[in-house]
């Protein structure tokens, strides 16, 4: 009996025809293009990939992308958690406004984010000139890359940690204080353990987004080979220079990183869900 009603739900617009269309759409739009990159990148075999990424320019670009992304991820993990904490536990007049602008980077085109940072920290601006006099170049240098990555990934840790923090019972923290624990002990022993998977998941998403970022970085970094040229910008220059095989070979490396990160966030989100249930 129940089976027959279930069959009604799994029919028509929610039936096998829809399933086939969904599968086809994903295969055509995502799987085939990614397969094309893999095929092109493997024209020289695994050796070919190694040769492509071990040229000085490519290896410097990959290294730059990885360390700027890692530095940004650490800063975002700390500041994102702090932001979520302030928003959830300490509502104040204006916290709604704060919560809204945290989402801004989701809506602003990353190219525009890059332009904003140049108009703020560029060498001709007051702030940029001031930093320049103190020996710190921000735009067209590596600090600019980290700033741009921080901007575009800002909401990810906050939005990952916020819901878990909301469901934490403040009574546990009260109990910890009552038993004589200090703020630091309470934070590390009571608050941090349950939100750790969420922080890790948000941080990895930041890192993944940063490794792929193009629009904002291409504007702020100045794209100086060996110094401020990141891996995605390197791939772009190889495509423009009509060397698709090299571009695809380097792309495979970024693709492998992306897939690895995707599966680790999915694994972590499993923990987050268990924590929330």
């Amino acid at each position: 009996m129940k089976k027959r009603f279930r069959a009604v739900i799994a029919a028509g617009p929610m039936g096998p025809g829809t399933r086939l269309a969904v599968i086809l759409y994903i295969v055509v739009l995502v799987l085939i293009p990614l397969a094309a990159i893999v095929e092109k990148g493997l024209t020289g075999g695994v050796d070919g990939i190694w040769r492509a990424i071990s040229t000085p320019m490519a290896s410097k670009a990959l290294f730059l992308t990885l360390w700027t992304a890692a530095l940004m991820a650490v800063i975002n993990a700390v500041m994102g958690t702090a932001t979520a904490w302030v928003l959830v536990r300490h509502p104040f007049p204006g916290s709604r406004f704060l919560a809204t602008i945290v989402d801004l980077p989701f809506a602003i085109p990353t190219l525009v984010a890059g332009i904003m940072l140049v108009t703020l920290f560029g060498p001709q601006t007051a702030l940029g000139a001031w930093f320049g006099r103190h020996g710190l170049q921000i735009v067209f240098a590596n600090p600019g890359i980290v700033l741009a990555l921080l901007f575009i990934t800002m909401p990810l840790v906050v939005r990952a940690v916020e819901p878990v923090l909301m469901e934490l019972d403040p009574a546990e923290e009260e109990a910890s204080f009552t038993l004589g624990a200090g703020s630091w002990t309470t934070f590390f022993r009571v608050v941090l353990p349950p939100i750790l998977p969420a922080i890790a998941s948000g941080t990895i998403q930041c890192f993944a987004r940063a490794v792929a970022e193009f629009g904002s970085v291409v504007v702020v970094s100045g794209n100086i080979p060996f110094r401020t040229l990141t891996a995605p910008v390197y791939i772009f220059s190889e495509v423009e220079g009509d060397r698709p095989a090299v571009a695809a070979a380097v792309s495979i490396v970024l693709l492998l990183i992306a897939i690895g990160l995707l599966f680790s966030t999915r694994w972590l989100q499993g923990f987050v869900r268990r924590e929330r249930v």
């Binding site: 500041m79 704060l98 085109p109 190219l111 940072l117 009260e174 698709p244």
Partner: protein, 277 residues
Amino acid sequence: MAGTRRIGAWSRGTLFLFAAVVIYLAVLLLLPIAALVVQVAKTGLSSLFGQVFGGDALRALEMSLILAVIAAVVNGIFGVAAGIVFVRHKFMGRRVLDALSDMPLSVSPVMVGLAFLLIFGRGGWFTPILDLLHFKITFAFPGLVIATLFVTLPFTLREVSYVLLELGEEEEEAAAILGASPWQIFFRVTLPNIKNALAYGVTLTIARALGEFGAVLIIGGAISGKTQTGTTFINVAMEERRDAAAYGMALVLAVASVLLLLVLEALKKVEIKADEE
């Protein structure tokens, strides 16, 4: 009670954390936006309107809007269909497809552009068929559409499947038992339940489509009046040192994204209200 801490109390440590978060967000988010506004004001509002609302700039903006609408419609429908399929159907390869549909979030836009060049460009997989049909995808409108569809694929799907997962299917079963047809169940039960998530996902899709840069630059070539979008217009204008045009368009896109953000906020409020009822 002296000496007892209360949760939510403003201790010195909390105040410090609060100040750090507010300063961080102000420097990273608000100052750059203010800098862009000041920059445009310096070049003069009249030149903004002259530069952006005339000729090729307006055409580029129009192109971005068309692409955003197409992405919203196609990936809106896909998101609902795929959400139902991934949450309600059990079939082989479901998890792989689910993971694939998340790939656009961490694949670099330059790789998207490269992938579609490899498939549809000179010497590409499908190029012989396209030539036969006299159909051009690269450096033409269809290429822009495909690239935009790729980068905006996951947004509606994620929002919709999250809600479907929380809802379960009791309501649909009840409708089936009461004799509703599959189409009636879909339009009277399922769709009303997910309409908020759908609206949220579609808004994110539009924001992402308006902001896409790397992929449409590579696949479209930013040909003025033909394949130029809002973001690629900025890029060309900067290369040609037409600063007023570049900053003007950047401001227009920034304002558009702030408006979209307000829509997202409004949708969140509706959601909270619905939860409380």
